[in-house]
């Protein structure tokens, strides 16, 4: 699975720290999600999609083999 969080965050001109604060998680968690080291919970994914104004499917993209 890949995601567009880094791109969407850049579009909103947000730092990882700011995004983390807005979502109530740590900066290292945002970093891990962006680098595909950690798959967020449904709740966190929904919060992210709300914040970026897009659907979860647009934010997280399934890849072959997932």
């Amino acid at each position: 699975m890949r995601n567009n969080i880094k791109v969407e965050r850049a579009k909103k001109d947000m730092t990882q720290e700011q995004l983390a604060e807005a979502l109530g998680v740590s900066r290292q968690t945002i970093n891990a999600i962006e680098k595909n080291k950690y798959l967020p919970s449904t709740l966190l994914a929904l919060k992210m999609s709300d914040l970026f104004g897009m659907t979860v499917n647009e934010l997280f993209i399934l890849e072959e083999g997932d």
């Binding site: 109530g24 998680v25 740590s26 900066r27 290292q28 968690t29 891990a32 950690y38 967020p40 919970s41 709740l43 966190l44």
Partner: protein, 157 residues
């Protein structure tokens, strides 16, 4: 949103500091306490210190300190930290099982290499504690799973 399975409550972050203090100061404190108990006669024989008291003196503070470190929140506690903690506990228990089961084998290999007769090391208590841990974790897991399935069935009716 109400969570179906609320996260396990952990001690606040400051308990990590208490855990470190217990680890650092615990062994000297317990040693001092034992000598006081010997001097006032509550521990009748001085050699009892080495027979019965030396292991608790070392292990109690270490286990209490490590438990405080393990069961307290991180400075920034979130779902990824909880996930990593779950992984740590799972791998820890797995390595403990493998280690304890293989301990008699390794002990006897060393004994044979040293030219001594083989024998069973004193692992009875540890195996008992491990069995209790596994009974509890599996029991808790099955009961919780059953409760969730029951509540889902009730919702469907």
């Amino acid at each position: 949103m109400k969570e179906v399975m609320p996260p396990i409550k952990l001690l606040p972050y400051r308990y990590k500091r208490y855990g470190l203090w217990v680890l650092i100061a615990g062994v000297p404190f317990m040693t001092l306490l034992t000598f006081v108990l010997i001097s006032i006669g509550l521990i009748p024989r001085n050699d009892a210190f080495f027979d019965e008291w030396s292991k608790p003196i070392i292990y109690y503070p270490i286990i209490i300190g490590l438990a405080l470190l393990n069961f307290s929140e991180e400075k920034e506690e979130d779902e990824m930290v909880q996930h990593v903690r779950y992984q740590a506990f799972m791998t820890g228990v797995l390595y403990l099982i493998v280690g304890l089961l293989l301990l008699p084998l390794f002990t006897n290999i060393v004994r044979l290499l040293e030219g001594r007769a083989i024998g069973m090391p004193d692992v009875g208590g540890m195996l008992g504690a491990l069995a209790l841990l596994l009974v509890y974790t599996y029991g808790y897991f099955r009961v919780r799973l059953h409760q969730i399935q029951k509540s889902l069935e009730a919702d469907e009716e």
